[in-house]
Amino acid sequence: MWSLSNITGSIDQWLNENFSSAWALAIEMVLVGIAMITLFAVLGLILVLMERKVSAYMQIRLGPNRVGPKGMFQTVADTLKLLLKEGLTPNGADKLMFNAAPFVAMVAAMLLMAPIAFAKGVQIWDVNIGVLYVTAISSLSVIGILMAGWSSNNKYSLLGAMRSGAQIVSYELSAGLALLPIVVLTGDLSVSEIIASQSNGWWIFKGHIPVVISFVIFIIAVTAETNRAPFDLAEAESELTAGFHTEYSGMKFALFFLAEYVNVFIVCAIAATLFLGGWMPLHIGNWEGFNHIMDFIPSSIWFMAKTFFLIFLIMWFRWTFPRLRVDQLLNLEWKYLLPISMVNLLVVTAMAILKWHF
């Protein structure tokens, strides 16, 4: 059966046969680096195109369909264009910070790639604190935004940065609290363990209502954490013309854009891993035949399918809802999400101790 894991495995094997282990490791690192960069670029292209197509269909339009077959290359053209666009730095800006900010955003986004299991056994680093790791690193992205907003020396940027600062830190809480139930149920933080624990059924099915609630809360929280509508106050078009990246142009802007979309991908991947069983195929009770068919679909496909479904969900939000006001945003977090998820956590704990989940 074709699968991503086999490929990587064979590469690893081949390397270890033909080179000394150190060299093999080095080459692997290089390969991983290149792979990640390509993944970044490709993800950026695909997600932006997807976003534009989805929005178009929801708005009874056609969306890009001229550049390349069915408009496939629209985003390619855009990326090239941005590459060919002058990236200017405002005079008043704090040059160092202004230019460093996109890097911070990128690095944060890239580091989040480490613990994600793209397929059976395809994982860069199965860090033993997997979930916590993600929470930690994703809290770094706010720094990039704050740097950008402050250093642009532009009032819109400053306001946008302030807003997203408060927003991201607030929603970290409920994001963290919402994934704790899974940790409680699994008794382990590492991604591989969590996936393994779902071999006989995804948590969202096994965990009854409480897990569903925490799933919803998690989705809401990550939508806010990635500054997506309806929580896109950081770049609220109609209020602060473009928010914290008002002054960014050309490639630097593109990097922010890319980081944003990759973040979306990652949080969706995490959600898929925690609640939808990562690359685990869908198994239903004891329909042997059905489960076998499911097993034939490569695990990477499963993972991608789940992730992209969640991404689509988030896009769906964006193209349906109005934007919240900044104080309402914080109220939502502190009055609703946080208490609910706390109570929810207790319920799940009781459930876990009583072994009520199957």
Binding site: K155, D232, E237, S238, L240, T241, T320, Q328
Partner: protein, 371 residues
Amino acid sequence: MVEEIGTTETGDLIINVGPQHPATHGVLHLIITMNGETIKKVEPHLGYIHRSIEKMCESLTYRQFIYVTSRMDYLSSHINNHGCALLVEKAMQIEVPARAQYIRVLMDELTRVASHVLWWGALAMDVGALTPFFHAFREREMINDIMEETCGARLTMNYMVPGGVMFDIHPNFQQRVKQFITDFRSKIDEYDELVTYNTIFKARTVGVGVLSKEDAISFGCSGPVARASGVSCDIRKLYPYEVYSQVNFKEPILTEGDTYARYLVRMYEMKESISIIEQLIDNIPEGEFQAKTKAVLKPPKGEYYSRVETARGDFGVYVVSEGATTPYRIKFRSPGFSNLSTLDQISRGQKIGDLVAIMGSLDLVIPDIDR
């Protein structure tokens, strides 16, 4: 006391919004003094689209100046033209044929619906929902097509002429309008699903930018803005022109005076306009569509004033005639101008996000304000 949180003596930020800004629907320029996110003062600066139309009209004949007015409030261009045509007719004592009157009113109401539909989309976009904007244009395009078929232009159709309308209606007109009505009825419910009942939208609009009845009167507000504050000011009811006295329609009056009330009033007006159209579309009388008029119009010396109800409110044309072929002095009383002047009052103490919603609900058309 919550105001004290983080309030410092010098925490004010002065920020320009507009002239080029997605929220200002054109080229309004607001200088906003903010404390954190809270607005302390809004100072409108106009004139970025001041096209000196009043001066220009002093050198245009009574036939010519009508077309310029469709560039003022371009969203209700028909109604503007209508007002001017009414004025010329009043001055020249021209009797407008019944058919022309029916056609005019139909066109007015279609324009009103088109304008409100666009406003609906724009408001939704201001509060951050992008899809309704595009859905709104679907209906607007239907109306545009009807207009284009009859008037020959999509936006600035110079259709009203002194003494009637420029052409007779297109043969398909009635049938297409009926088609449109049936479609639109179903679409309005979608609007409600998408925006009206949406909690986020309600949270953004209810209780935001409250305009008291006294202020509404004192600020000379008109149209939906005044009606949302409980002022009855529909020219079509108070001083009926053309056939408005014969159709029956309600004037929606709410008393909350907040953004959501303004929203509801307009939604209601759309339904009313549709019913007006329904009442008229089937019994357009036969006959002339244009009264016989002299080639050169010379209204007798005197002053004339005509008012019509545009999509934004009370649009008045004040003309001083010296008996020449061109007006001696012409003044357009534009509803937006008065409605805008309330902005500072009603947006103090709100968040900057609210300002956007408030401006959207005032439904400003800047060229109409600057003239």
